[in-house]
Symmetry: C2
């Protein structure tokens, strides 16, 4: 979609748009039943007025090439292809709509889409800013890599032995004793959840998770028929799990350190209580620990360090700390579990990038990773304080928040329930992208997940002021 109308052309802008749409239909890119982008989206992309787009669409409708369906949008008409070229054509839209996997929520699709646009200020992005990524050091480290032919073939089902060896040592510092057989390398923690969902749980299993929860913003468990039960944090420690425990298989998903989206961490005592309860109830724990390295002050080791019963599936990653582009994470679990998940990974994508694995092994084993983390924590802390100061100055009367203890996020709570989709869209129209609380807890209209990690300081300030202006 990089095409734009040419203002020096002999054709008018709307004629050019008509031709462009026709050409997409002609070359079978937009097949019968394809839903067109909205007028606003097209206007934004072409950088023209909506009225110009409307003029073009009206002409195409009059020609019978596209048609409106009330309430659902504008589509390539059933006879369009016949009219243009007189040929039969597949209806891909029908295929898409009847297929198995759920689409992302619309708000999340919009987030994914707008995160690619340079002019958008991203106030909620769960990703390190380009300026925080160690790009030059990574480039340098590529020069130092020496490859073995065996290392760039298909990797063993569990992933590179070298990287697993390095991780064994690394995890020891976090109080986790493990061995080569107990580690599976994955392409990031999202894939870890996907593999667990299809490889360890029967359909209809219960997935307990904290409320609000990152799990609500993705589909890993929902799309394969699991039943989600979200429980507020404090109730998890009392009798909620016991009361809700079903006859069915169940599992608890949690982020005990720097929770996404709230930023909270459990104390060691709380972790112990949770572990003991789950052990007694025989509920396996999925411990998502991808933010741990970003604690401004180290607090307590992961739940996995307490695990004497093989009950905890531990997930780590370098996506939040080194580079998401590497797509490298890991699961630590009993070896039959790892064997099973490795078998499924082999059926899904035959393993993760050998090059990425090599880079991560090199960074961790050389100590470069730890050094980078120390700097990164400092930088994130500075950013957190900067945002907190802006909040202090301008948001004190309308919202509350907790001082960040690390990671990326401030869970900003507005006194009034104003964070709805309308606000999300209004902000987007002003080029500000937020992660609204309702993607983490559908009923929540009070929160925004602010991220101080992505946008530049200047953009953060500008975005927060736009937010303030639109709220008032």
């Amino acid at each position: 979609m990089n095409w734009k109308p040419n203002r020096d052309s002999n054709l008018t802008i709307h004629e050019q748009i008509v031709d462009w749409v026709k050409s997409r239909i002609e070359r079978s890119d937009w097949t019968v039943g394809t839903k067109l982008p909205t007028q606003r989206q097209l206007a934004d992309r072409f950088n023209v007025n909506r009225s110009t787009v409307q003029l073009a669409l009206d002409e195409l409708k009059a020609d019978g090439l596209i048609e409106s369906k009330v309430g659902s949008g504008v589509f390539v008409a059933n006879n369009s292809w016949k009219m243009l070229l007189d040929k039969a054509q597949l209806n891909w839209q029908q295929h898409i709509e009847s297929s198995i996997h759920k689409p992302n929520y619309h708000t999340i699709q919009l987030i994914n889409e707008h995160e690619q646009m340079d002019h958008i200020i991203r106030l909620g992005t769960g990703e390190l800013s380009p300026e925080l990524l160690p790009t030059k050091q990574l480039e340098q480290s590529l020069k130092e890599i020496s490859l073995e032919p065996k290392a760039i073939g298909y990797s063993p089902p569990q992933g590179s032995e070298k990287l697993r060896g390095v991780l064994c040592k690394y995890l020891k510092n976090k109080g986790i004793e493990t061995s080569l057989d107990n580690i599976l390398i994955v392409s990031g923690s999202l894939q870890a959840l996907q593999l667990i969902a299809i490889g360890l749980l029967e359909e209809g299993s219960v997935v307990f998770h904290e409320q609000p929860s990152y799990l609500n913003s993705i589909h890993s468990f929902q799309s394969v028929g699991m039943r989600m039960i979200s429980i507020p944090r404090d109730s998890l420690l009392t009798d909620s799990l016991r009361e809700n425990k079903k006859k069915r298989q169940s599992v608890l998903y949690c982020i005990p350190t720097l929770h996404n989206p709230t930023g909270k961490s459990w104390s060691m005592k709380e972790k112990k209580t949770l572990y003991d309860t789950c052990k007694e109830l025989q509920i396996p724990i999925i411990e998502d620990d991808v933010y741990h390295e970003l604690l401004f002050e180290e607090t307590s080791p992961p739940i996995k360090s307490l695990d004497t019963s093989g009950q905890v599936l531990y997930i780590g990653s370098v996506s939040k700390t080194l580079s998401p582009g590497l797509r490298i994470g890991w699961i630590v679990a009993p070896s039959p579990v790892i064997g099973r998940l490795a078998d499924i990974k082999m059926q899904t994508d035959y393993g993760s990038s050998a090059f990425s694995q090599e880079i991560v092994a090199q960074w961790i084993s050389s100590g470069r990773y730890e050094m980078h983390l120390a700097t990164l924590r400092e930088q994130l802390k500075r950013r957190a304080e900067y945002v907190e100061e802006i909040l202090e100055q301008h948001f004190r009367k309308i919202a509350t928040w907790k001082k960040s203890e690390g990671g990326f996020y401030i869970w900003l709570r507005f006194h009034e329930p104003i964070v709805n989709k309308a606000l999300f869209l209004k902000l987007l129209h002003h080029n500000v992208l937020i992660n609204p609380g309702y993607i983490y807890e559908p009923k929540d209209l009070h929160h925004i997940r602010l991220s101080y990690a992505y946008a530049s300081m200047r953009a953060l300030e500008e975005g927060l002021h736009t937010l303030l202006k639109l709220i008032k």
Copy 2:
């Protein structure tokens, strides 16, 4: 599983094995219900006699730590944990057995497992030999990469724009006109199939494929409830598709160039006939074209080059040609289809390795890839001729085959139906790993997929002689 008994220890070998098994149970690695490897597997791994393993297992059974279940193997006993440490413990085996995704077939699990062992001669592996991989050139090219901070963050849903741009040009040479919006970067062709299965087909859709078929050796469609109908190659061109076409959605999977496992290619006329039939019947075509670059003599362009109706989902990859460790492939399709598949990929693994994408873009755009391919084809041709000469000398009386036209495989057909699981296991016991025909067509007991691409020339000769000896 790298542990081996220490022959200089004060303990006997079998005592060491007993201790080792106990320690795995104690540290919750083998939880209750875990199935132990077979005696033979343990003996192989420990490099000891089976009788020693048996002695150890007998002792563990007598202690009540493990138990045999007739016909299904030896398992960690229900009370083992209590006996060792007196604690409750999760039964992971139960979780694994009741979960959603099918395990790989046993023969394929054995293949995956033994492909990791250096002493095994691999006669069927669908992978380039380490000596054919351009390891040093890849290492060199890493030194030349300059990274942009944006390039190592999360990539756009469809994958690196740079790589997609490079592919547009590259595919033009194959007669495929496409654009940025029509390409999705994936982590190899297996992932492409996975995404198509869950993103474009309704449950119970019919997947037509050639008989024998690579699809039978993987589970992408079967594991999500598709109905597989395999049709012999020649019948596909007559009325078989028409007769078998159901009311249900259906799709045709094919490898028109250097088919896996048979090595055959369709002529341009046959491709045209197939395309026209599918167009008339409105059956989308999945064209798996990952071996095309390995044709010894270029024949005809892909079916996709004929596609005027947006009917063909085209799959390419560098796994067979450059390095499987990169985990990079691509799908070319109409943009609504690509948008849909990209959305699902974002829900699965948030994109492929940015580093791998960068490397592939660099190799293709610099022309290095084409140069490498020219050399590679020469080397593969030499290997094919070498193997064909051995076959000519020793297999003429018992088998038939077709001279290879490219790629990796010779589809060796024995006059007698001797290629069963017993032969597979017997060969494995002699350290020779084959890909038996029955993993591509369950009823087939005549074929072996010979690969001249992986093992060294010497190993190929040795392996073929072992095969000959065991058959006779």
